[in-house]
């Protein structure tokens, strides 16, 4: 059966959707991704959908679900490279995906994830320092 590969880069997970998503594939991705986040303790998930040209309400909902699930597992999700047609379709379907972070391309999405994880580390350092006093 088809599976969408999940790549690991440090504490980030990178998913590139290169094929047309069908419902079963989306559910499989959701399962794989959540277990992978828990397994490696990922802090960020980057989903590249620049090759995705067809989207329906189920795929949109699954993306939103993945983001919410990742949030529960303490990982920030960024969806990058959405095509104009896909964006228009989702808006027309009434799915504005309010909980999802978006970026233009993998580069800026990666930058955003690294910045947020760095900021969190600094916060943690600060907490650590203050605990010593």
């Amino acid at each position: 059966m088809d599976r969408i590969p999940i790549l690991r880069m440090g504490n980030l997970l990178l998913v590139t959707i290169q094929v047309d998503m069908h419902d079963k594939l989306a559910v499989t991705l959701q399962d794989d991704l959540t277990s992978r986040i828990a397994e490696v303790g990922a802090r960020g998930v980057l989903i590249d959908i620049s090759s995705l040209e067809i989207v329906d309400s189920f795929i949109g909902r699954t993306l939103a679900n993945i983001a919410s699930m990742a949030k529960v597992l303490d990982a920030q999700t960024v969806v990058v490279g959405m095509q104009p047609a896909v964006a228009i379709t989702l808006v027309e379907l009434g799915m504005s995906l309010p909980g999802i972070r978006t970026a233009l391309n993998v580069e800026s999405g990666m930058q955003y994830l690294q910045e947020t994880s760095r900021a969190e580390e600094q916060d943690m350092d600060y907490d650590g320092d203050s605990a010593e006093f």
Binding site: P84, A87, I88, V91, S96, L104, S108
Partner: protein, 293 residues
């Protein structure tokens, strides 16, 4: 019925003369077309009718035999549309042919009331159909003009301007309807992808009114841009429009709005890590520079 066609063919000149007389007394817009043009058009129509092969039915003008006549009338009516004739004046051109043919039939049939009536009703139907065809072509010609103008307007009305690296602006001018908003949305999103822009400024200074539908369209565009990873700033909201938006209860809370495009541009520069500073004076005018951070 063939006899009617034969009669028309045999008496072309007399018919033409009478038709022209009718036309000249009937059409008041003498300024739009001169006598010689009218003459040649009428002659062409009559000879086209005469040229139809003998024995053709008058009832079915959509058959292949009547093709030349139909085309000729279509050409005449579209030229009438351009010259500024009204649809009824254009139809009158054909309808004025009725009376001369009726006169001809009366002369041919004499006292044979049965056949006289049959012929007259056949010719009546025939000329009416020709007139309807003329009106149809007239309206079709106008529709084409309107459709072309609409397309041209759509093309003209949606320029996406690149203000800086990664900042595009979309100055909207004129009323927004669904069709236009679709084009606006598509061209903005396309420009965001092509120029890899993180910021898009939508300026509505030139939009005369904002109702719930327009606001809905704007919000859709902004949401779609956000889904693609770009941030939209709405600028150029005039005081009256701000009042309308609040009175209509439109929720623009999730949208960044600025009064002027300059403010929106400044915000976009700041968010992309740039600041505007004044670098000095030349010819008394202040020179500003944008410093990349």
């Amino acid at each position: 019925m063939e006899n009617v066609l034969d009669g028309i063919r045999a008496n072309q000149d007399a018919l033409l003369k009478e038709w022209l007389q009718n036309l000249k007394s009937g059409i008041r817009r003498r300024d739009l077309i001169n006598d010689s043009d009218l003459n040649s058009q009428a002659t062409e129509v009559l000879s086209a009718i005469s040229a139809v092969s003998p024995g053709t039915s008058l009832e079915r003008i959509d058959s292949a035999q009547w093709q030349p006549v139909r085309e000729l009338l279509a050409g005449i009516s579209s030229s009438r549309a351009i010259q500024g004739f009204t649809p009824s004046e254009t139809a009158t051109f054909v309808l004025a042919l009725k009376a001369p043919i009726f006169g001809l039939i009366r002369k041919q049939r004499g006292n044979d009331a049965e056949r006289l009536f049959a012929d007259i009703s056949a010719v009546n139907d025939f000329v009416d159909k020709l007139a309807l065809h003329t009106t149809d072509s007239y309206i079709h010609g106008r529709d084409q003009v309107i459709a072309r103008q609409q397309e041209e307007m759509l093309e003209l009305s949606t320029p996406v301007v690149m203000l800086w690296d990664g900042i595009v602006a979309l100055p909207l001018i004129g009323t927004l309807d669904s069709a236009r908003t679709q084009v606006v949305m598509e061209s903005l999103l396309q420009a965001i992808v092509q120029t890899n822009s993180r910021f898009a400024i939508i300026d509505i200074t030139g939009v005369p009114t904002v109702d719930t539908l327009v606001a809905q369209h704007l919000i859709k565009t902004i949401t779609a841009a956000r889904l693609m990873g770009a941030e939209c700033i709405l600028s150029g909201i005039r005081p009256q429009i701000a009042q309308t938006i609040v009175h209509l209860g439109i929720n623009l809370e999730d949208v960044v709005t600025k009064a002027r495009m300059a403010d929106a541009f400044k915000l976009a520069l700041e968010r992309s890590g740039r600041i505007v500073i004044r670098s000095g004076k030349s010819n008394g005018a202040a020179v500003s520079a944008i410093r990349e951070q």
